[in-house]
Every structure is written in structure tokens, then in C-alpha cells.
Point group: C2
Chain length 330, copies 2
Amino acid sequence: MNIGQLTTPALVVQHALLEANLTTMAAALPGTRMRPHVKAHKCSALAARQAQLGHTGFTCATIAEMEGLSRSGLGDDLLLANEVVDAHRLGALVRDGARVTMAVDSEQIIEAAVAAHVPEVLIDVNVGLPRCGCRPEDAGRLADRARRQGLTVRGVMGYEGHIVGLEDRSRRMELLEVSMGLLQKAHEDVGGDIMSAGSTGTYDINRWATEIQAGSYALMDTAYGKLGLPFAQALTVLATVISVSSEWAVADCGLKSLGMDHGNPTVAEATVLFCSDEHLIFSPQRPVQVGDRISVIPAHVDPTVAYHEFLHVTDGEEVLDHWAVDMRGW
Amino acid sequence: MNIGQLTTPALVVQHALLEANLTTMAAALPGTRMRPHVKAHKCSALAARQAQLGHTGFTCATIAEMEGLSRSGLGDDLLLANEVVDAHRLGALVRDGARVTMAVDSEQIIEAAVAAHVPEVLIDVNVGLPRCGCRPEDAGRLADRARRQGLTVRGVMGYEGHIVGLEDRSRRMELLEVSMGLLQKAHEDVGGDIMSAGSTGTYDINRWATEIQAGSYALMDTAYGKLGLPFAQALTVLATVISVSSEWAVADCGLKSLGMDHGNPTVAEATVLFCSDEHLIFSPQRPVQVGDRISVIPAHVDPTVAYHEFLHVTDGEEVLDHWAVDMRGW
């Protein structure tokens, strides 16, 4: 199949760039030093390739992602790096043979793990991002409580999400040291082998974590593209020009095919003016025609991919494969 | 089923409010004076209720929406109010018995209609929104060309999208008169019975259009909520509180369950601080507990619904039905 035959808008992944990203990461953080986060791609075929390259443990944000990996035979060591109040579907995965670890940051979430017969947890620690995670000084107490309830506490996790997107690398390193200092102290109180943290934005500077939860590096977006990392923009949204006026042009790729929280997407040799539900309005530097195809680079990969059914894997003009985005929903 | 049993995040539609919105609109613009736009809900069950109330013609933004309506027996008069370069799937709908009309704004799109054997078109006219639509002065020429190619030209359409969200009603009316003046002039040049325009934001002030393409009124969002229209917020995203600290709380409803182009969603008696992929971080005015359910009102309904598989229709705590959002994708 030729790329020209794809119905647009369509997610296109350049196979060579994806492979380069995956192998670069596997060389930097081999094996279980990397615990790929699947929330950015939600694609079990892509996860299978990450596992082939040695990363046999995975990070998830939703139960649906945990189920998708387990169903695909990738359930060796699954971490739900997020709190859930009703964990009974995770208990079912355990009974099916998956190794399941839950993040817990309160007594209520510990109760949820116990009630669902999820045997293993990490204590989720707030390391500066105002989101989930207990106070560092409460981590030891929560670990004790979890153990008293019969759970195995494998260690701690703490996501430095307030740092990972900072463009100044030295500032990123400086703040990371503070965050990881908090996590390290909590780890001492908690025990266990694991100190899980990180992201694409800190994969090469987080020397404290025992494992890194990076996801975006595989496909990339313009937000992480600003950081000067050795990962290429492997994902684009292919769109068709449907209308051209003297001052602007319109392509069929809008708010329902792009995550917009980080702002407008980018189009080469063009200025993006605005997006509406099914339209991207842009001012091209060179004339375009109705029917032309353009490549749109999303500002934020995760909520972009979540709108689409397939990642179309390409080599030049050839479509090699259609990988289902099979871990959407909740 | 009780609402408490829904897996969150979940789209919840209060049946009584939806019915009130639909009947209010059907009273204001009965029968074919309204051509409901399905892009906001993408749900054939909801469209079927709109048809029951007398609106037997529909507006679509994508071919997938046209196919969904046709498949559901709602193909009496389907308008694709958007340009497409490859219309062959629309031709298949025509052969299956649907009445299909395409918006055309260039010679290339007229060619696409001809090539696909789509028999009827509207000339799409730019009435001030810098998006699709030909220049008003080109509409007559395009209509002539379409007729020479054997197409039936049913009239014109022109979407006043730059006006529909203005909060000042008198300003909305003033600019609308300018836009509809342009469309009226084009209509004189084009001929045909139809002058299709409008939106939820102008449904009651657009006295020029022969039919109104409103969609958001059925479910509503905070953007249209500001206009003082007689439509209630029927849709909310139900979320579960998963983490609580002394200063903020976190619910499981993030960027992958909310359209974010219009900004943050709203939560009653709380300030929304930010959203990340699967999290909404908010500062509640009253204490909340892990496990509490909250209702989140999206800023923009269309790209919110497009992330979800179901609209859960409720009466108080009871879930009456699960309507599939069955017209997603392209």
C-alpha cells in the first residue's frame, strides 16, 4: 500500500526513525533500566518491539493499558503508575498470570489493592509536581501499613513532571537533584529494590532512579523536540489540503485528531493559524493545491495518538503495517 | 445500573436535560428548519431522537458521520458540510439509497463529486471565517460549472464561525447581518432552494438562512454556556477522586477525555488548576475524599465526545442506556 492511499487524517510513523529512537534508548538504558511508559503510544505492537529490545517491564497510566499488555503476552512486570480506587480488573490480570504492581499514595488506595488481591505496590511519592503522590515524610508510614496488610512493597516511584519539559538542561539537572533527593529519602524509609521515576525529558540525567518511565521518546512531539534530545520526530499526522484561498489553506486535520493542550501543531514551511474540529488553517510559504498531502507535527503526542485507531508504519512512500492503537479508553 | 458503577472517566448525559434541549430547539426551528450537525455528538442514537422530533435532514463534518447516519436509517437528506477530495465512499452511500449533498468550494471539489457520482451539491461560501468556502463573488461561477458537469446545485452554505461564540448578543447580530448579506448575494447568483448556515450560537438570530446547522445545543459546553441560550448543560464527564493532599485533589479525567482547545474544564465549587494525560488537578472549596465522584464540564463538547466510546444516559442515579459514540474516526 502506498501512503497516498491512506484516508486522512492518519497517524504516520516513519519506521526507520522509530527504530532509531528505540535502539538509541535501549543502548542508553538497557533492559530493565527502562520501563517504557505505554501511555504515549497505547499500541501493543510498538510495546512488543520495546520488549524485543530488552525492556520487559512496562509502565501504564490506565487499567485498559495494563489489560492490553497482558493480553498481548507482555505481562512480565506491569506497573500501574497511577492511583485507582477500584482495582478489581487488576486482580483479574494477576489471576491470569500477569505480574501487577500498583502505585499507592494513600490508605484508601492501599485498601483498593488489598481488596482486589493485587499483591505488589510502589509507594507513590510527591517529588514536586502538584498531582498524585504522598508527602515524602509519609512514605515510610504508608509502606508499613501496606506490609501490615499483606502487600509486598517493591519500593517507591516519584514523577518529576514539573521538570521534564524545562528547556534549560542545567536548570533541569538542578531541580531534578532536589526532586530525586526527596525520593531517595523516601526510598530509605520505604525499602525495596525499586526507585522508579523519569521521563523522556530526564532519561539521561536521572542518575538516581533504578528505572526510567519514558514514553514519548518513541514517537516524539514538538514539546520534547525543543529539548535537543537524540530522538527524531517519528510520528506525523498526514492530512489532505481541501481548500485553498489567496491567503490561507485548509487541511483535514483538526481538534479531533490532535491533542491541543500544548498549543497548535507545526507544519513545515507554513504558519499554523488555527484549528477547528476537522480543519487546520495554515499560511503556506509555498503555494499548495487542493489534494496535496501535508505532514502535521503534534505539539503533544499522547492526547494526539489517543484520538486515532491506527499507527500506519511507513518506509518512504510504502505503508509497511497498520498497528492498532489498541489500548485506548479506560 | 447505578451511576456509581460506571468506570471513570465516563460521559454522562442527563436525559431530562437532553430532552429539554432537543424539544426547545424543535419548537424554535421545527422540522427541516433545523439540520442538526452530528459532529458534536457523533451518536446515531441521539441523531435518531432528533429525527423523531422532526429534523430529518442532518449535517456532517466527516464521511464516517455520513456513513453512520446512513447505516442507521437516517439517510433521508445528508449534507457533508465540508470539503473532501476523495468522495468515493459518498458515492457508495448514494448507491445504497441515501440522499447525499456535498459542500463544494472549488473546481477540484466539484470534480471529486462528479468522479464519485455524488449528484447534489451546495456551494460553500466564505462569509468571514478564514477557513473553507469560495469568495462570495465566485459562487455563481462555481454553480454554473457544477451544473455543466451534471450536478444539481441545491443552493449555498456559509458558516459564520467567527461570530457564533461572541458573548455580546447585539454584536453577534450585527456581524451576522454582514455575513448573511454576503451569503444572500451569493445565493442570488447560485440559485436553488437552500441557504444553509448557523450554529447553536446564532440559531435564534439567523433569520436569513433557510436551515440552521446547530449541533452543540443538544449536549452543551462551557463555551456556549456563556451565551445565555435556553439550553442546559446536559453532558458532564464523571470522574473519580484518586488522590487528595492538603492543597489540591486529583480526579481521573485528563487530556485524553477532554477537548482542551478552549481551555480547562470546569468543576462546581472548585478551581481547576491543570490537566495532564489522565489527571485533573483541582482545588476544592469543600473537602473531598478519595473515591468521591465529581462532575466535570468540558470547555468544548465536540473534541471531548470524540475521545469516548459511550454516552451514558441517566435519570438521577440510574443509568438508563449506553449510547455508542458510533460515528468517530474518518
